[in-house]
Assembly symmetry: D2
Homo-oligomer: 306 residues x 4
Amino acid sequence: MKYTYLGPEGTFSEAALLSVPEAAEAERIPSHSVPAALSKVRQGEVDAAMVPIENSVEGGVTATLDAIAAGDDLRIVGEVLVPIRFILVGAPGIRLDEVRVVSTHSHAWAQVRGWMEETLPGADYVPASSTAAAAVALLDGTPDYDAAVCSPIVADHHPELNVLATDIGDNANAITRFVLVTAVKGGLPTPAPTGADKTTVVIPLPKDRAGALMDLLEQFAARGVNLSRIESRPTGEALGMYFFSIDAEGHVDNLRMRHALRGLHRVSTGVKFLGSYPRADGRKPIVDPHHTDEAFARANAWVDGL
Amino acid sequence: MKYTYLGPEGTFSEAALLSVPEAAEAERIPSHSVPAALSKVRQGEVDAAMVPIENSVEGGVTATLDAIAAGDDLRIVGEVLVPIRFILVGAPGIRLDEVRVVSTHSHAWAQVRGWMEETLPGADYVPASSTAAAAVALLDGTPDYDAAVCSPIVADHHPELNVLATDIGDNANAITRFVLVTAVKGGLPTPAPTGADKTTVVIPLPKDRAGALMDLLEQFAARGVNLSRIESRPTGEALGMYFFSIDAEGHVDNLRMRHALRGLHRVSTGVKFLGSYPRADGRKPIVDPHHTDEAFARANAWVDGL
Amino acid sequence: MKYTYLGPEGTFSEAALLSVPEAAEAERIPSHSVPAALSKVRQGEVDAAMVPIENSVEGGVTATLDAIAAGDDLRIVGEVLVPIRFILVGAPGIRLDEVRVVSTHSHAWAQVRGWMEETLPGADYVPASSTAAAAVALLDGTPDYDAAVCSPIVADHHPELNVLATDIGDNANAITRFVLVTAVKGGLPTPAPTGADKTTVVIPLPKDRAGALMDLLEQFAARGVNLSRIESRPTGEALGMYFFSIDAEGHVDNLRMRHALRGLHRVSTGVKFLGSYPRADGRKPIVDPHHTDEAFARANAWVDGL
Amino acid sequence: MKYTYLGPEGTFSEAALLSVPEAAEAERIPSHSVPAALSKVRQGEVDAAMVPIENSVEGGVTATLDAIAAGDDLRIVGEVLVPIRFILVGAPGIRLDEVRVVSTHSHAWAQVRGWMEETLPGADYVPASSTAAAAVALLDGTPDYDAAVCSPIVADHHPELNVLATDIGDNANAITRFVLVTAVKGGLPTPAPTGADKTTVVIPLPKDRAGALMDLLEQFAARGVNLSRIESRPTGEALGMYFFSIDAEGHVDNLRMRHALRGLHRVSTGVKFLGSYPRADGRKPIVDPHHTDEAFARANAWVDGL
C-alpha cells in the first residue's frame, strides 16, 4: 500500500495520515499541493491521499472542495480530526523580540493573528506555500524572514529548529478535518456501515436559487437526514452560479439516505456521490421512528403489495 | 354482472350507474342507504356499487366517506359526474300556488332553498330519506305534504307525477360525483393507467395536528402530485381527531404516486389505499420533468449503481 | 339581553346555552334552523345565537359552517362543549319490543345506529327536523312512527314521555361543540385574551390546490400557531373549489396570530375573521420562544431601529 | 471625502473604487489588507472602503466576509462588478520562454493555472500578498522569481514593466464583486431604494443544522424574497458551527424585506443587517402580487381594522 498527503513532512496532513493504522505502516509520500495529491490517486500512483477539507476557524479548504468535486472518479473512505497547535520557530540564534518578518501559509497566519498583534505588533508577513516549507527554509539561512509559524510536528522532525513560542493559536479548540480519498476504480473499498457514518455529496444548484436550495435541503429533511456541513462554491461560470458540498449523517446503505439521494438526483441530475465512511467522532444520529430502515422497508412492502 | 346503487329507482345514483356501459346491460338493484349498498359489495352479493361521494354545493357525502374508510376491503374503480337538476312535483291536481308543505332529502332541500324562498316563501319543510321516495309517496295520497323536490328521472319513471316546476336548483352548475366501488377480493380489477387518473386514499392524522397535516401534504407535493379533493372527517374518538380523505392526481402505477404512498405510510402507517381509476373529465396532469416516471427511474438506477 | 338557539326546547343547543351564566338568566327563544337563528342575530332581534358547529362523531355541522361563512358580519364570542347522550322515548303505553318505526334527526340516527341494529334490528327510520320535534310529536298521537331518539333534556321538559331506553349512543364519549355567535355591529364585544383562546377563520382556497393549501397552513406553522380544527367546504361554484374553515390556537391580540392573519390575507385576500374567544377546555398552547409576543415585539423593534 | 481600498495601487480594488464617481475625485489611500481597510473605516480615518467580497471563480473572499461580520458597526452602501483580466509581467529583459518561477496572490494563481500548465508547464510558484506587490517587486531586481501575474492596471501605472503575455485568465468571464463599506455612525448614508437593490445580512445558524437552515431560508421564501448569494462560514467555535452570509434581492424599505428580517430575528436573534444598496447590474426582481408593498400594506390594514 502507498499513500500520499499534503506535504512536506511535518504538516498536519502527515499527522492525520499517521493516525490511520494501515497508513502508519505503509509507504507515505508527500505531495506539494492538494490537486497534485489527488492527481496521484486518479492516476493510480498511490492507493489514497490524506488532504484537509475543513477547518473550524478558517472554513472549507476550497482547493480540496473544488478538486474533489471536479470529477466523479474519487471516493472519500475516511475522515480524521486533528487538533491544530501552532508554534513559532526562528532563524538560528534569533530571539523572540528580534523577530521583524514572519512567514507561514495564509491559513495558519489567519489563525495566529491575534497572538501576533499582541506579541509582535510591528511584524510583517510573507506568505508561504506551506507551514512546514516556511519553517524548514529557516535552516538554510536564505529566506527573507526571521521566523515561521508551523505545527509542533515540524520541530519534532527538525530538532535543530529554534522554537521561540508554543501554543500561539488564537483559538485553543481549532480543529482541522482531513479526508482520505481513493479512486472509484481500483482504489480502497467503500467502508461498510457502522451506524455512525457520513455521506458526502456535491450538488450543482439548478438555475433559480432561493427555491432550489430549499428543494435540495428538503430532500434530506423529508427523510430525517441531518447535515453536518454545507458549503457553497462557485461553479466558475458566472456570479451566482453555485454548487453545494454537503456532508449528511448516514451511510448510502441506509434506506433513508438512498431515498434522499434519489430525491436529489431528480431535482439536480448533476449530483455526485463522494462516499460514505465512518464518522471520526463515532456519534450515532438519532433517527426518529418514521425514518428507520424498518419504516422504509415496511412502507415499500405495503406499496408493492397493493 | 350485478350492480347496486343508492335507490330507490329514479335517483341520481341510478343515472350515474346507467352511464357505465357494462352496468347499463347488467342487473341493477337499489339499496336503501350507502352503508347497505357497500355491505352488499363486501358480502359478494353484487359486483359493484355506485354511490355519491361529493357534491359541488353540499360538499362531501359523509355517509359514503365514512363507510368506505371503515375497512380496507373496498376499491374505487371508476367515477361519474352527474349534473344535478331538480324539479318540483305535486300531489295529483294541486297547483303551484296551493303548495304549503314540501318534502325531499335534506341535501336537495339545501340546493333549492333560494328558489323556494322566492316562489313559495311560506312553505314548510318535511325531511325525507330520499328525493325519489318523497316524490313517489305523493302517488299514494297518504303523505303529510303537498309537493316534493326530486330529479327529473323520477318523473320519467312515473309519468303520472304532477310536475309543477323544473330546473329549480339554485346553482345551475351543481354536479354530484359518484364512485363505483368494488371488493378487493373477488371484485372488479383495478383499471390500468390511462394517463388521466385519480388515486383515493384515507389517512389518519397523527397526534399533533398543524405540522402533521403539512407532513402528509408534503408527501404529495414533494413528488409533484396534485390533489383534487381533500376532506377532513372525525375519527369519532374525540374532538380534534381526524382522518383525511384525499383524491390525488395520478395512478398507483406512476412512480411519483408510488413514492408519495410510501412517504405517507412512513408518516402515518394507518393510511389506506382506496383505488386508482380514470378521471371522468379525462384531464391529464401536467407533470414537471423532475417527477416523470423516467426521472424516478433514472434516479433509482443512479443510486442502485453507486 | 336576548338569546336564540337551535330549537325546539330540549335540544342540546338549549343545554349549551344554559351553561352560559348570562344566558341562563336572560330571555331565550328557539329558532327552527341554524340559518334562522343566525338571521335573528344579523337583524338585531337577539344579542347572540348558540348553534352547533362540530360533533366528535359526525364531524362539522355544514349548515352552520356555511351560514357563518356566508358574510363577514358575524363573530363567534364563545364555545361550549356538550357531552351527547341519547335516549329512546315511545308513544304512550308502547313497549320497547313493540317498536317498529323510529324517528329522529339524521345526525342523531347516525350516532345510535349500532344500538338500533342490536336492539331493534328490524326497525325502520323516518327522518325528522330535530330530535326534540320527533319526540314531542309522540305526545299528539299523530305521527307515523312509534318511538323517537332524543336528548335526556326533552324528557326533563316533558315528564309524560315514555322513556324506553337511556344511554343508547354508540360512542360514550361523543361531544358536540357549540359556538355563541353575535353581530359585528351592535353585538357582544370580542372577549379579551385569556391565554387559552381560539381564533376562527374562513379562507377561500386560491386556484391551484395542493400548493395553495400548504401555503395557507404555512402561514400558521411559520408563526408557531397550531390548528385545532380544519374543515374543507365547497364554495358551490364547481367541484374542487373549496374554502377552509379553521380554528387556530390563540387570540387575535397575540402577535403570532396577527402575523399569521396578515400572511393569510396576502395569500388569500378573501380570508374572513370570525372571532377570538376563550377555549372551553381552558388548555393553554405551548408557545416556543421564537413565537412569544416578546419575540415578535423584539424583532419588530430591531427592524424599526435599522 | 476620503476612501481606502485593498492596495497597493494597481489592484482590481482600486479599479473598482475608481468606477464610483464621488471616489474618483476624492482622496484615495491603499490599505495592505481587508482588515486594515475596514479598521480605517471603523476608526473614522476614511469615509468608506472598497474591498472584494466574491469572485465568480474563486468564491467568497473569506477575509472580507469574516471581517465585515465581526461587528455590527459597518454598512455596505454599494457594489461594483469588475471583469477580471490577468497579464504576465517579467523581470526586465526576460523572455517568456525563460520564465522558471512565477509569483502572485494565491487567488490569481488559481485563475491562471490552466494557462500556466499549457504555456510554462515546469514553472514553480511563489505566493505573494497581492498581485500588484508581486509585479512591482520585479522592478527592484531583488525577488526570487522571474515573473508575476497581475492586472493590466499595474502595467498602466508602471509602463516600465515587461509585459510577456495578456489575457491569460483561464475563465474569460471571471468577475470579482467589490463592496463599498462605510461606518454606521458618521459614515455615508444608506442609499434610498431604487427598485433594483440588494440587502446583505449575516446570520448565525442556531444549534441544530438541517432544519435550522431551512427555517432561515423559509423566512425569505415565505415573503417572496430571492437570494443572490449564500455562503457558509465557520463561527470558529467548533466544527459544524456556522454563520451564513446572504445577499437578498430587495431593500430594507420594502415591506417584504422588513418582514423577512423580522422573521430572521425571531429564529436567530444574532442576525446582523449589513446594508441595502443598489445592484450593480440594475436588474429588478420579479415580485409576485402576494409580496408587493401594496399587498403587505393591505394585509396589515385589514388586521389592524379587525
